[in-house]
Symmetry: C2
Subunit: 143 residues, 2 copies
DNA sequence: ATAAGAATAGGAATGATTTGCATTTATTAT
DNA sequence: ATAATAAATGCAAATCATTCCTATTCTTAT
């Protein structure tokens, strides 16, 4: 929302607070759905001189910190989104790419069970659902 | 298991039954976990002259047909696996990349519920769990 | 204000995947 | 069986997202 928050957040993580980083975080906060690197780059560049490599580097770092989500198939462009307070997954329309956030993930207890069974310390999971949104179902003659 | 099955399957789908395709399907059937294109290529090449592009082309086609799974993050190499009778997901070790197949997915009824709530026709989902396998947990001093 | 280290911009490099095309092969009709 | 023909293959070149390199510019602590 404002750059002061980002300043503090970045310093707290031992990183310098650069205009590019703040603009990047602001750009992410503006998105209502996972955005491609290109989208984010364009958004950041509207406010500050920047380069694609800077955007990539910072996104990757934010992802490693667990502050943002990264999703997509291999061979596709990655899409990033800020992590919300509540653990969230997405529902993606196969036709129009519309993305809806879904809440209420049933996987945590399952993760614990699987970890026990397989002798893993399960620390995270990724889940995405695919289908057709209402409009696209109609267009394609689906119910 | 045998090439006769693949012959029939391929013809039924309107495709020519080539040695490369049969070897590819056999290679996939041999894997007990999702394999990289490179792995599959090497396996196929043990039995027939082939090329990476042929492997790529056929894997992509099989995936489009819904006969195999494709998984991995963007920026990672894709991994493919034959679809089994039982819906399957994977558990991946963050350190050593060991992959374990896990069965018993609790997401189907959840998918139906989400679809109803969001007015989507949910047709598929992807889910992968991440953690540390027993060895790597020890190495890293984790419990 | 300055020094020291971190971060950036820009471009080159990488590497998985895709594509173009000439050749080979599996199918179908003869 | 053979020839015709459309599809599939192999190889090399192209693509394209992402990563890497490094000289220069900023941030921050002093």
């Amino acid at each position: 929302m404002n750059s002061i928050d980002w300043d503090q957040a970045l310093r707290g993580l031992g990183k310098k607070s650069t205009p590019q980083r703040k603009a990047l975080l602001t750009a992410l906060a503006l998105q209502d759905k996972p955005a491609s690197v290109e989208d984010i780059f364009v958004e950041v560049r509207d406010h500050h001189k920047t380069s694609l490599s800077t955007v990539y580097r910072n996104l990757e770092w934010l992802f490693a910190q667990g502050l943002i989500n990264k999703q997509g198939f291999p061979g596709e462009k990655a899409r990033y989104s800020l992590k919300r307070e509540h653990h969230e997954h997405t529902l993606v329309c196969i036709d129009c790419q519309k993305i809806v956030a879904i809440t209420g993930c049933p996987l945590d207890s399952y993760a614990a069970e699987v970890g026990r069974r397989e002798n893993f310390v399960v620390v995270d999971h990724r889940m995405e659902m695919y289908g057709y949104c209402q409009q696209c179902s109609h267009t394609r003659g689906r119910v």
